[in-house]
Amino acid sequence: MLTGFAILVDGLVYASWLFIVAIGLSLIFGVMKILNVAHGAFYAFGAYGAATLVGLYFQADLPVAGAFAALLVAAVLIGLVLGSILERGLLRWVYGRDEVIVVLVTYAVFLILEDVLRLIWGSDSYFAYQPYVALGNVVVGDMIISNYDLGLIALAGLTAISAWWGLTRTKWGKLLVAVIYDREMSTAFGINVTAVFAITFLIGAMLGAFGGAFTAPKISVTPGLGVEVIVLAFAVVAIGGMGSIPGALIGSLIVGWCRAAAVHLLPEVELFVIYAVMALVLAFRPEGLFSRMQARKI
């Protein structure tokens, strides 16, 4: 049953990565009803920013432990900067418009940012492998599992718990939840929805960048990262439901395990299976597994 175990672990690792990447998108979608395609750019910028910062960090010959903080710092900075520019500079002018139009606006922004990325960092590959390598591996049977990947699982868990705590135990969090459930009602109750939107977008942007930053040590950071990731994040959010933390968790786990199963058992359907699940969920519960909106007309 080693394959079973491999699927379990691989699936969990992939799911953790997906969760960290998708949670920001889910939040923005849930609160603002915006399917933010530019989330892919937050991710990409986060990865590049992290790679650069880590590079600088190790050039300064600082201890490895701090590199993780560098990843976090990169994410927060990128998220804040990009997020504010986008939200204050562009999005707030289109809030009232049709949802699909807003998606197209974010797609346009994504395209622009892709080129900005290339203008800043060029087409070369960047690496930030040091944190990954530094943690080493653990050997289970004849499986080698990277400790960094295990760390990602823990990180995903931590993120989920913080998000849950933030949404249910803090004042701001409760306001966010209210807006997710019913924006009009929230306004009627005096909630400053504009402020909530701005804060949510910043948090979402930081989470997106966070996903990219913590992925950087695992991959070679090249142009085009964002394009693949965004559609995966969509799948997770579509499956789990918008604005739902448990939904994003379940969505990530479903996609993670389905993909892992495919990779180990029937590699030809690896990509197919993810989107097939997405289509299946959309077919039966278009709002996602954990959401409250009304999607179907008939």
Binding site: K33, L35, L90, W93, V94, D98, E99, V100, I101, V103, L104, V105, Y107, A108, V109, F110, L111, I112, L113, E114, D115, V116, R118, L119, V227, V231, F234, A235, A238, P267, E268, V269, E270, L271, F272, V273, I274, Y275, A276, M278, A279, L282, A283, P286, A295, R296, K297, I298
Partner: protein
């Protein structure tokens, strides 16, 4: 059936045919690809008028291209006209099946579900070694009723076929738009329940639109494949769908001529941008899109129309 638009389309077609004799090869190729893409945009326009945006037309574009390409490679079917018909029919059947579900959805969910279906095809194509995986495959050269042109003659033959397809498609869509069922687009978008209470089925109308748009995208896929000589999974990728949606917005949806004009302009600018400013092409496109969405929601065509009306 006297109609100003159909007259204009015929005039454009005649000019296009004449152009085959004087235009350089690169321009012929560009025009072919542009008009093939315009067919997909025509389908998106039909959906747009009823308030729906599909982020998954690449499904039919890819399906049409692969159906035709594989028919050539595996069955030896090389007649270009037959391939276009075959690809469209396959795409239409696929659209009919997908539409059974899709026609029940609206707004963002319609967009997301259409995206999901196109990514399913992408996933299948990428992970299938026999179909060339991410590299795709080259397809066999097309023939035209027995005539097997090569080189420049082949380019022109495909061009003429594409122009003819464009003319036929545009005219048929124009007739469709003037018909009662075509005129239900606005009412369905505005007040679907009322349409039901007047005795028409909004779902059935939308299903039909999905099929028409699918067939058009399929034809576009076949023609593109014939022009390029190659099919690959990217034809079904979400960014391809996104590209079609962009041209729809940039071109405007005010007339069946708009997709062709818009697509031609788009391809021309893109070709030049790729040569002179490849690093900033997406930046330009994204900006053009933002400007259009924010300030010119009617697209290119609305500017054109306004000038004509003297406003």
């Amino acid at each position: 059936m006297w109609d100003r638009t159909i007259f204009l389309l015929c005039a454009i077609f005649v000019a296009a045919v004449a152009g085959a004799f004087v235009m350089p090869d690169w321009a012929i190729f560009l025009a072919t690809v542009a008009v093939a893409k315009a067919l997909v945009v025509l389908g998106l326009m039909i959906l747009w008028r009823t308030g729906l945006v599909s982020f998954g037309q690449a499904l039919y574009f890819g399906a049409g291209g692969y159906a035709a390409g594989l028919a050539g490679l595996w069955l030896g079917l090389s007649d270009a006209v037959l391939l276009v018909v075959f690809g469209s029919v396959i795409a239409a059947i696929l659209a009919w099946v997908v539409g059974l579900l899709l026609a029940r959805y609206r707004e963002i969910f319609f967009a997301m579900l259409s995206l999901a279906f196109s990514m399913i095809l992408y996933g299948l194509l990428v992970n299938t070694e026999a179909l060339g995986s991410t590299d795709g495959v080259n397809i066999i050269a097309p023939t035209f009723l027995g005539y097997a042109p090569l080189g420049a003659a082949q380019v022109r033959a495909v061009y003429l076929l594409t122009m003819a397809s464009g003319l036929i498609a545009a005219c048929l869509v124009q007739i469709y738009l003037q018909s009662t069922i075509g005129q239900l687009a606005g009412p369905i978008r505005d007040n679907e329940i009322r349409v039901e209470y007047l005795g028409a089925s909004a779902r059935a109308v939308i299903h039909l639109k999905v099929v028409i748009a699918g067939a058009l995208a399929g034809a576009g896929g076949v023609l593109t494949a014939l022009a390029v000589g190659h099919i690959d999974p990217e034809m079904a990728y979400w960014t391809t769908s996104g590209g079609f949606v962009f041209v729809t917005i940039l071109a405007g949806t005010g007339s069946v001529i708009a997709p062709f004009l818009g697509s031609l302009l788009f391809e021309t600018v893109r070709s030049f941008a790729m040569v002179y400013t490849p690093e900033t092409w997406q930046l330009m496109l994204g900006s053009a899109l933002l400007l259009t969405i924010l300030f010119f929601p009617g697209g290119l065509w609305s500017l054109f129309e306004r000038r004509r009306a003297g406003v």
